[in-house]
């Protein structure tokens, strides 16, 4: 009842509509922070510029706020997101950088799901005993590690120890055209096996570090939900059918525990996206994070328009992840009605 495919479309559609005010809020808040709240922005954003550019910048900031907002908002909608100090437009740069980050984030998610969720199940199963303590220590350590520390340690020490490369997407420039800008996907599409393996080996370390740091979110939520689910009667019913412990845990209990785990997908996405800023910088991964890192002025040349655009794009990513979490929750929990 209320769970047919048309109902699902309405469900997703309604959630999409709820996106819009949040997106507007994001755009407004970004504007407020960067334009209204900015203290003495011009010399800092254009440190190497001449007096003419600075004067032009100051003139822009002296305009009434509404005008500034319109100057900011309208081009945003059109897709002309400004340019960096050398005049290169921001929008195509961002579009070129996004797929690599998507690839990195998806790989990290995969690692978090494959390793983190079973760890949470084991921790709940042996709650209070040493496997539980070990799992908790593991994910608490991940949380306590600053991203750059983990990235640097991994890039310098672990890479040498394990023999994995620690920089860039490929060892050598790929001989095939890159349609999707996702290294593994492009290599697969080109049918080039050695480059696919190379791409995967380059992806492993950054994705692992990102996953390690954020593993706690998924593991802790899984552990908590499993602890709530395991004493319930239907788990005992499943055992009394004669099912093995593994089937009881992973088919019956986890299926219900995962429902609440999806609710933290939004937070997970936020953490993963934030982590890409440093990870991509350390591992020389050509994604949005690296772009953001340089736009914020770390490389010495900040990029005002680029920074704004990047902030909005990151927020967009989190909002989309929350939407996905909401839809996933509605799909997994049969008690939720879609209409």
């Amino acid at each position: 009842m209320g769970r047919s495919l048309e109902d699902l479309a309405i469900f997703v559609g309604r959630r999409l509509l709820q996106l819009v005010p949040v997106l507007l809020g994001v755009i407004v808040l970004t504007f407020l922070v960067t334009h209204v709240g900015a203290i003495d922005p011009c010399p800092r954003w254009y440190p190497k510029a001449g007096a003419g550019t600075i004067a032009h910048c100051e003139a822009q900031f002296k305009q009434p706020i509404v005008t500034q907002f319109l100057q900011y908002f309208v081009p945003l909608l059109h897709g002309s997101w400004g340019a960096d100090e050398f005049g290169n437009p921001v929008y195509p740069q961002i579009v070129a950088h996004v797929p690599a980050t998507i690839e990195l984030v998806l790989a990290s998610l995969l690692i978090m799901i494959v390793i983190g969720i079973p760890m949470g199940v084991v921790a709940a199963q042996y709650s209070g005993r040493w496997p539980d303590h070990l799992v908790r220590f593991f994910y608490l350590s991940g949380w306590a590690t600053p991203t750059y520390v983990g990235a640097i340690v991994a890039a310098i020490y672990v890479a040498r120890f394990v023999g994995l490369p620690a920089g860039g997407e490929f060892s050598a420039p790929p001989p095939f055209p890159q349609y999707t800008h996702m290294s593994v996907v492009d290599a697969l599409l080109a049918g080039n096996l050695s480059y696919t393996v190379d791409a995967i080996s380059h992806l492993v370390l950054p994705a692992s570090v990102l996953a390690f740091i954020n593993m706690g979110i998924a593991t802790r939520m899984t552990r908590t939900s499993m602890l709530e689910v395991l004493p319930l009667d239907y788990v005992k019913s499943a055992r009394m059918k004669g099912l093995s412990n593994t089937v009881v845990l992973y088919k019956h209990a986890l299926r219900n525990a995962l429902i609440t785990t999806t609710t933290v997908l939004g937070v997970t996405a936020g953490g993963l996206l934030a982590g890409t800023v440093v990870i991509e910088e350390v591992f020389d991964w050509p994604g949005i994070g690296q772009y953001a890192f340089s736009a914020m002025g770390a490389g010495g040349v900040p990029n005002f328009d680029g920074a704004i655009a990047v902030v909005v794009v990151f927020a967009l990513g989190v909002v989309i992840a929350n939407l996905a979490a909401d839809v996933l929750y509605g799909v997994l929990d049969p008690r939720v009605e879609w209409r």
């Binding site: 306590a144 750059y148 908590t224 800023v277 989190v318």
Partner: protein, 344 residues
Amino acid sequence: MATGAPRPPNRARGYSAAVGFYRIMRSNPLSFAGFVLVVAILVLAAASTLDPRLVAPYGASQQTGVYSEPPTILRGSPSLQHPFGTDGGSLDIYSEVMLGLPLDVGIGVLIAGLAMILGGLLGLVAGFWDRPGTVGGYASTVILRTTDVFLAFPSLILGLAIVAALGPGVWQVILAVTATWWPYYVRLVRGEVLAIRHLPYVVAARAAGVSEGRILVRHILRNVLEPLIVYFTLDIGTVLVTFSTISYVIPQGIPYPPTFGRPEWGSMMSYYYGNTLFSQAWWSIIFPAVAIFVTALSFSLLGEGLRDVLDPRMRRALTESTVGHTPPAETPSSPVPGPLSEAG
């Protein structure tokens, strides 16, 4: 049928909470370690603030001007006299780390505390006075929408944007991280308040004519305080990590050598990472990192232990005396979502 001996009187609740706390700390090696470490950190921080020479033998921070003795080895990898090495100049890394301890811990506590107070108050308003059609309801909607927008930004990104807008400096970064953290507390407190508001005994109190203020203080605040403390403790560590990451990304974020009186660990790391070859002086980068890690981990361990203390199921199992206890299999198994269930 009679059910057993009477419950312990209310004033014994504090005692049984303390007993429970001790039992949890003892039973769970992780939280015990966290507790011990946090106490040690706080003691060291106090010592470092009051008399730096106690913990920082070569304290050479220019502002504190604490030169007990100049370092004996100028270019130094870790050794007996300089356990964390020196930076090749006049600074002993160990002393720098120890001098920075109260600063970083203080920053973590400050940010988490500010976020807790601000977010908690807003969450209280959004939860307690959220009735449709009233001023409170309208204010709640505004608060919630704003919170949603803030939550759409990953913490680091918003922090970077704010620092980019406000310019470098410790207070700017503190403000930035606080501004990204308060929304989580709004969600947490609002969720708790809503859940407690609808509990039968609160509804009964209201029906009996108890004034709103009394309900607020006696029932709601007391119950909200527990998860709040847990999250506060957990957050101290995470806030510290975020703070140091921001100061790493924005290289002029917090200058090092310090102008704030004491070295901040993240700024130490970013300074040395930019200015020394990693292979030549890895200790100047690794040890502040270890300090951040250990501090954050200790508070997180303590927080997880506190969370176990406050989980009603575990609390009952560990603190209830042997009077009239019903074994677990007999209690009805329908799950009631408690106010202490996992928030966002």
